[in-house]
Symmetry: C2
């Protein structure tokens, strides 16, 4: 890690919101870490050694269920941080942190962040705010899983991913999506087919292109707006 004189603010919004002095104090503890598609940053049950602040790229928080079924409960882009359990003083992860979209993150030793967090500073405030947004997101996922159709949930998921990525195209097989949504691959095929037929997206062999955001927003359930509003307020 090089600590140069010139401080480049991070594109991670939690870090960017810190006053310069505080950010500067943290900087030596932050290390750039590449997020490669498909990487598992930590497995459910693992000890969390690092906490990740994405600058770009996306980390999915996945709950693992008995029969090797998987369900995404949260999605973390540059608005957040992965590994909150460690911040809260719990060193064992309850979910899997999976890189869903490649990019880079700044990471910090969990022990260091925890110590830093206890100070009553801007970082604490920032992280508390984020914890609340995460709680909202997970609660809303619970509701969404209960009440909404696969079509609507797929649209929501694509929007949330689109928000966290610079491009209109991203890498996603139906198989992968089926794990995120907790449905069968065939179910994704049908739902994605419907969205494509309406001209909202285009996809082939593991790549999806967003063509019409408005359309997706109309097809999605209101959960999208609820979560979004909470995380940007």
């Amino acid at each position: 890690m090089s600590t140069t004189k010139r401080v480049v603010p991070s594109t991670n919004r939690l870090l960017a919101a810190l006053p310069k002095t505080e950010y500067q104090r943290l900087l030596p503890q932050l290390e750039t870490f590449p997020l490669a598609f498909g990487d598992v940053l930590y497995e459910a049950g693992d000890t969390i050694n690092y906490v990740y602040f994405p600058e770009d790229g996306i980390i999915s928080l996945l709950s693992i269920v008995e029969s090797r079924k998987v369900l995404e409960v949260g999605i973390v882009g540059n608005e957040g941080v992965a590994g909150v359990a460690a911040i809260l003083g719990v060193r064992v992860s309850l979910n899997r942190g999976l890189v869903q979209s490649a990019g880079t993150a700044l990471r910090m030793k969990a022990t260091v962040l925890q110590r830093e967090f206890k100070r009553d500073g801007a970082l604490q405030k920032s992280l508390h705010r984020y914890l609340h947004a995460l709680l909202t997101q997970i609660s809303q996922s619970a509701v969404c899983n209960r009440f909404h159709t696969v079509d609507a949930r797929l649209a929501r998921w694509l929007l949330m991913t689109h928000d966290r990525v610079n491009s209109d195209e991203f890498r996603l097989t139906q198989e992968f999506l089926s794990h995120m949504l907790g449905v069968r691959r065939e179910g994704v095929s049908k739902a994605a087919g419907a969205l494509q037929k309406q001209g909202f997206i285009n996809y082939s062999r593991g790549y999806i292109t967003v063509l019409d955001r408005r359309g997706l927003e109309a097809a999605s359930c209101k959960c999208y707006r609820i979560i979004k509003d909470e995380s940007t307020t």
Copy 2:
């Protein structure tokens, strides 16, 4: 509020875990508050003025969905606290806090707790630990809603309620349960009928009696154990 010399520890586990000196400092700020069945402590969208530490009784955290559908995302007994948003510095509640089982709570002004929370003390640690348990509970609810049958979810719900109540009998109509589980009243009728036929519970006109916990545990999904283990570790 009387601050006598003799300090009676609270039966709320978060408060009971505090060292005497810290608890004593908080005591003047805590006020006893009756929890009456059906009371709404705060509505979704309301400003949270108080944070509630149940001593007995249960508070349900409910998400409200567009079409006046309701779903419980969390359940708070004497192991926790209702109104965490306020602790995190967000004064607007994202859910409804409903008294699901009568009892008493100690309550504290949200502003006071927030100030107290910022100190790096035992309370902060306690609350962080609890936040993690709550995150686990909500995540697991999301999974449970997605994958498990009404029967299993009802069994889980009864177990979680039973854990937080002193008695084997509690007050619950099928109508009420249908809101907790986010299913139709008829669905509850069927599921409850099945549990009764197996001799696990007995119920009539708004009252349920737990007859066989073991049986319920067998009928429930594993989500019960996962949540329980996390909240008692």
